[in-house]
């Protein structure tokens, strides 16, 4: 218990003094997760719209599969990407194993089902009359889709936040294909995992607090956006 207490104090010191290593690791976590989130969003919004606005055989099943993939284990995604980008894999020649790019690819795959699935439910939540009113006012297909997306913007922002949260908090995937290389692919979660096993609880706690603090900041920012 004393350990924990001292650890907390040390952690606060590390944060307040803007310890370079802590800041660097936190910054890396943030930009890797943010990049993954932005890339995934660019893919997921059109994908979710296409799924929502079209009738096709197996639509229900596809949505069910997407929802199941919300809880896919991060290590499973890590393994999947690992197979592709390891030296012997089909994309081995790219040499991206144990780089931030590998982590970003993994995270995009991890959160695509989440953002896509939640985008579909966000769009389903929009009053059917909105689309119809748009059509009656002369909107073409694309204009109608953009309007409905706009009407669903708050729910879609929540979807993106969910995606970001999952990316920034995962550890299995970053360890497996990022390699936790100091100064290169070490993120908050992989650092916590390592430092804890080394017995360096202060650093772990400091990083843990920063992670929660980051999550809080992101949520506050998006909340501000919603209430504008």
């Amino acid at each position: 218990m004393e350990n924990l207490w001292q650890g907390l104090i040390k952690a606060l010191q590390l944060i307040i003094s803007l310890d370079p290593e802590v800041i660097q690791i936190a910054g890396r976590s943030l930009w890797i997760a943010a990049t993954s989130c932005i890339l995934a969003t660019i893919v997921c919004l059109p994908l979710g719209s296409i799924i929502h606005f079209n009738k096709f055989y197996g639509k229900r099943l596809l949505i069910n599969i997407l929802q199941t993939l919300y809880s896919v284990p991060t290590v499973a995604v890590g393994l999947f990407v690992f197979v592709f980008i390891s030296r012997a894999g089909p994309l081995g020649s790219l040499g991206i194993m144990f780089t931030p790019i590998a982590v970003i690819i993994g995270q995009v795959i991890l959160i695509t089902p989440v953002i896509t699935g939640l985008t579909v439910s966000a769009l389903s939540g929009v009053d059917k009359g909105i689309a119809e009113t748009a059509v009656s006012l002369g909107a073409n297909r694309l204009q109608k889709m953009i309007l409905v997306l706009r009407e669903a913007r708050y729910a879609i922002i929540s979807a993106v936040i969910m995606g970001f949260s999952r990316a920034v908090s995962e550890v299995g995937l970053s360890l497996m294909i990022g390699g936790n290389i100091k100064g290169f692919t070490r993120t908050i979660t992989t650092a916590i995992s390592l430092e804890t096993s080394k017995g360096n609880l202060e650093l772990s706690l400091a990083l843990g607090m920063i992670l929660i603090f980051l999550a809080l900041l992101v949520n506050i920012a998006f909340n501000q956006l919603q209430h504008r």
Partner: protein, 360 residues
């Protein structure tokens, strides 16, 4: 050329027939009202005409173009139409942006958009609401924004589905005034569905009566309300005296029609022996205590059975071998001391009676 020409239009949902073989023509710039009780398919017809749904069978031509099924043509023609729904849906954005949508989608320039929106807002009296989020407006305000939004694209036809059904009387009056202004100032044809007959009468040049999923009669307000062609229409428009009779004599245009034991004089073109319904509007009946000298050819004595106050009027039901309904002003009812059980005389002109065919 007729703007909208509908032939044998039928719409079914899951095998249930909503509209049956509708034939209808809408002319450029006219004000047309579809009247009928709720659940007769008015909304469905409006949605078919606005090209939001495709008919099960039949054809729709707009300005000579067949727009029954062809997707591209339906899209292009839809941009020449607009619709104000019964419960208009506004987008979660400012009033200005709501109205701008249709113009932006048609790639109008922003200075043109601004000008047109200002004009449209002025017409519905909502200029000061421009910046408000449309979701925060009241029912009547939402309706006005929806009208401005539908009007701003200068459609050739504007459809209105029950434009005042959910509004209080004052707001209704305001909306009707706006519609009357549009009718006067714009070239837009107005096609409105309403269950409020008097609204149809006030706003339209032509009325179509939709009953039991069919268009039963189309004509001027006067035709519909004074010369209904069928029992259903007569009942719907509220003609309360509907009496079965038979034509017994004919002297050029003057007929004698036997109703129970009474003979009524009627100006009409029916043949002797024809079975008819005799329709008399309550307001065409004059009551007095004794038979007066007047030009009215029909005069019947009866006993007052019931008196119902109706604002400044009193509805009087007498029994003269058959029940007959009429109205008098409250003042004359008091002056003449009408009371239940008293015997009075009812008279009406031979031209006040309208006959329709009776099949059984």
């Amino acid at each position: 050329m007729t703007l909208i020409n509908v032939t044998k239009l039928t719409k079914e949902y899951d095998g249930q027939c909503i509209l049956k073989e509708i034939d209808l023509k809408i002319e450029r710039g006219e004000a047309f009202a579809l009247i009928g009780p709720t659940g007769t398919g008015k909304t469905t017809l409006i949605r078919l005409l606005d090209l939001l749904e495709e008919p099960t069978s039949g054809n729709i031509h707009f300005d000579g173009i067949d727009v029954t099924h062809n997707k591209q043509q339906r899209f292009e023609v839809r941009r020449r139409l607009s619709l104000v729904q019964q419960k208009p849906i506004v987008f979660d954005m400012s009033v200005y942006d709501n109205i701008a949508c249709g113009l932006k989608w048609r790639n109008e320039k922003s200075n043109v958009i601004e000008q047109k929106i200002n004009n449209a807002l002025a017409l519905v009296g909502m200029n000061e609401y421009q910046a408000r989020n449309a979701k925060t407006l009241s029912g009547g305000e939402t309706q006005r924004v929806a009208i401005a939004r539908a009007l701003v694209t200068e459609p050739e036809v504007m459809f209105l589905d029950e434009p005042t059904a959910n509004l209080d009387p004052n707001t209704t009056l305001k909306i009707e005034e706006i519609l009357a202004n549009i009718k006067q100032e714009k070239k837009t044809a107005l096609v409105m569905a309403t269950h409020d007959m008097s609204q149809g009468q006030r706003l339209a040049n032509r009325i179509g009566v939709l009953l039991d999923n069919r268009v039963m009669q189309v004509g001027s307000p006067n035709d519909i309300f004074c010369l209904p062609q069928s029992l259903d229409v007569a009942e719907f428009i509220g003609i309360e005296n509907i009496l079965p009779g038979v034509v017994t004599e004919r002297d050029s245009e003057l007929l004698t029609v036997k109703v129970n034991s009474h003979s009524l004089q009627v100006v009409s073109h029916r043949m002797v022996g024809e079975k008819v319904y005799v329709l008399i509007r309550p307001e065409d009946i004059t009551f007095a205590f004794s038979k007066e000298k007047s030009s009215a050819r029909n005069s019947l004595d009866g006993t007052i059975k019931r008196m119902t106050p109706l604002g400044t009027l009193v509805r009087i039901e007498i029994d003269c071998g058959f029940p007959l309904l009429g109205v008098v002003t409250r003042n004359s009812a008091e002056e003449l001391e009408f009371k239940i059980g008293k015997r009075i005389n009812a008279s009406f002109k031979a031209t006040a009676i309208h006959l329709i065919e009776r099949w059984y």
